[in-house]
Amino acid sequence: MKKLNSTVCKVLVCAALVATGGLCLGLPPAFSSQEDITHVRSEALKPHTRPAALFRHDEHNEKAGIDDCATCHHGKDKDGKRDMADMTAGTDCVECHAVSPVKGQTALRRAFHLQCMGCHQERKQGPLHCTGCHTNG
Amino acid sequence: MFGKILFATTASPGSNNAAKSAFDLAERNEARLYLFHVFGAPTRGFGHLVRDLKSGEEDLVDTDYREWVQEELHTIYADQIKGLSKGTLATQLAVGVPHTEILRFARQEDVDIIVMGAHNSEEDNTSSRSRAVIGNTMRKVARAAKCPVLIVNRPCTTCWRMFSNIIFCTDFSKAADAAFQFAYKTAKEVGAKLYLFHACDISNALLGVYAGQVEIERKLAKAREMMQERYISRMEGFDNYQVEIWEGTPYVEILKFARDKKADLIVMAHHTHDVHEDEAEIGSTVEQVVLRSACPVASVNRMDKVSELA
């Protein structure tokens, strides 16, 4: 089960998006209609042991200037690597990322963390510590 | 050289090697060889009941018992006796404490040399763990004997019929002078090569300090002077000698030197400390050399018989 993922060899503490507090309500609705999504909560990861990770979909993407859905809803190429071209919005992440992965597959929880914290780290923007996203604020 | 030789035997394997040397010595010196055996110890005081040292039983000792023991002795040493043509043999049995009887007989016959084995215990079980130990009879005889005591522990591989190489080992102690006289006169008499050997002891530290090389070389030089002053200056008309001074653990160096020179007699003083002969414990180096040497070792404790030699 233990394999050293070659792409990320640094130790990171888990982190999540820092909510920008009450600002989000005042913004006009973004172009897409996902403003009802405010947290990342995967049913597959029950029993949940931490408050859900705060993630106001539209507000975050607008703030981070993300318009290509595939940035997060990426696909999978033939040898199982991440494929940014193929857009898979709508399919649940657990389809490809099982909770306890088979060989070569990234576990679900790890995928969430790699995706969010990885991006925050590259852009040096956004929280990296646990309570940064997992807050019940 | 040796008119009378006393060979004290236990009539057991412990004395076989000593027997060979004793008979060789007697043959070459055309000497009178006393085959001396203490066969029993009195059970109580001056009682007639005697405990046989070999069998352990107690019985009355009469003439035919003594003849039986003598006959047994002669069968053990049959071929050595056959080979004794020039020397004469006299068998002597005794009852009593071994070392007392040996010393009493030696004094009574005024023998020139005593030949003995080193100990009578079969296996040398403790030498590997701590230290090899010689027998108590030999220890007491070597201390009290008026004449040199030739101790043979292991088969003598080099001494054919002649003493050709004699090694005198010294540590320049007072006791070593008697040993020197004995070695020197024997070599002069027999025409053997005399090696004067000294081993500087560097095996243990003195007050926690091990001697440095300069210190060792200074000791070697000093030893050479002492050789000259104490021994060579006392030799008249004798040049068949060689002085050799090594450093190391004394008994190891002596044994290596003896093997190297194919020695067939090592002469050493019985002890080194300046203690009266009667109280002196046998030297630890002598003890180790006696037990490990491949040729007889003569331990000399007193000047008496040595001064009488020619």
Binding site: K2, L12, T49, S100, R109, T131 | -
Partner: protein
């Protein structure tokens, strides 16, 4: 603050682990070689079987006279050490770390259990602190080194509690928790905490000495 946090979980973490592992290896190796060339009289009689027996015995609470005669201290010691090890390896945040960094699937403690353990550990440390002040023998012999070790050992638990109860700025608290953990790692080979390295050896030596040479239990 954010960049400081990135450094703390990044290069500083690698540095702390390196110092801990290399430092411990070096301390143990140098002590072992010192023993080999200065204590052969003791090493020659070493018997691992009796050594292990003594370690096993002393690792069971109240199984030795020492533990029985100091019950509260025994409870506090075992509570602290067990929770320290469990939390260090299987605390939920740490489990995520193992997984995030190395992809290692590590079992995680349920959060309520983790919090309970943290509280127990903190209370044990508090007891150690009180005892070090109140017990006349301990007060008489305590040195600054002991206080340093106790302080260092307590910090990670306190900061973990603060993070859990989300007291103060969460980023700052998490940062302090990370830094205190790293401080403990760095301190283990060089302060009083080095007993973590040498206790197996001293315990095994005493066990072997009492077992093999003295034929008598050492508890």
């Amino acid at each position: 603050m954010q960049t400081f946090y990135t450094i703390a979980v990044g290069p500083l973490a690698w540095f702390a682990w390196a110092v801990f592992l290399v430092g411990s290896a070096w301390r143990i190796f140098s002590m072992a070689s010192l023993a080999k060339n200065k204590e052969m009289a003791a090493v020659a009689y070493f018997d691992t079987a009796y050594g292990m027996r003594s370690i096993a015995r002393w690792m069971t609470p109240f199984a030795t006279l020492g533990w029985q005669k100091n019950p509260v201290l025994t409870f506090a010691t075992f509570a602290f050490h067990i929770s320290f090890i469990l939390l260090a390896l299987f605390a939920q945040g740490h489990a995520i770390l193992w997984e995030y960094a190395f992809g290692m699937r590590v079992w995680a403690l349920p959060p309520q259990v983790a919090s309970a353990l943290t509280i127990i550990a903190t209370l044990s440390c508090a007891y150690f602190l009180v005892r070090r002040l109140s017990n006349s023998t301990v007060r008489f012999v305590s040195t600054p080194g002991d206080w340093l070790a106790l302080g260092l050992a307590t910090l990670p638990f306190i900061t973990a509690l603060l993070v859990r109860q989300s007291v103060g700025d969460p980023l700052l608290m998490t940062l302090l928790h990370v830094l205190s953990g790293e401080a403990v790692l760095v301190a283990i080979p060089f302060t009083r905490l080095s007993h973590a390295l040498f206790v197996p050896f001293t315990r095994a030596y005493m066990g072997s000495e009492f077992g093999a040479v003295r034929h008598c239990p050492d508890w």
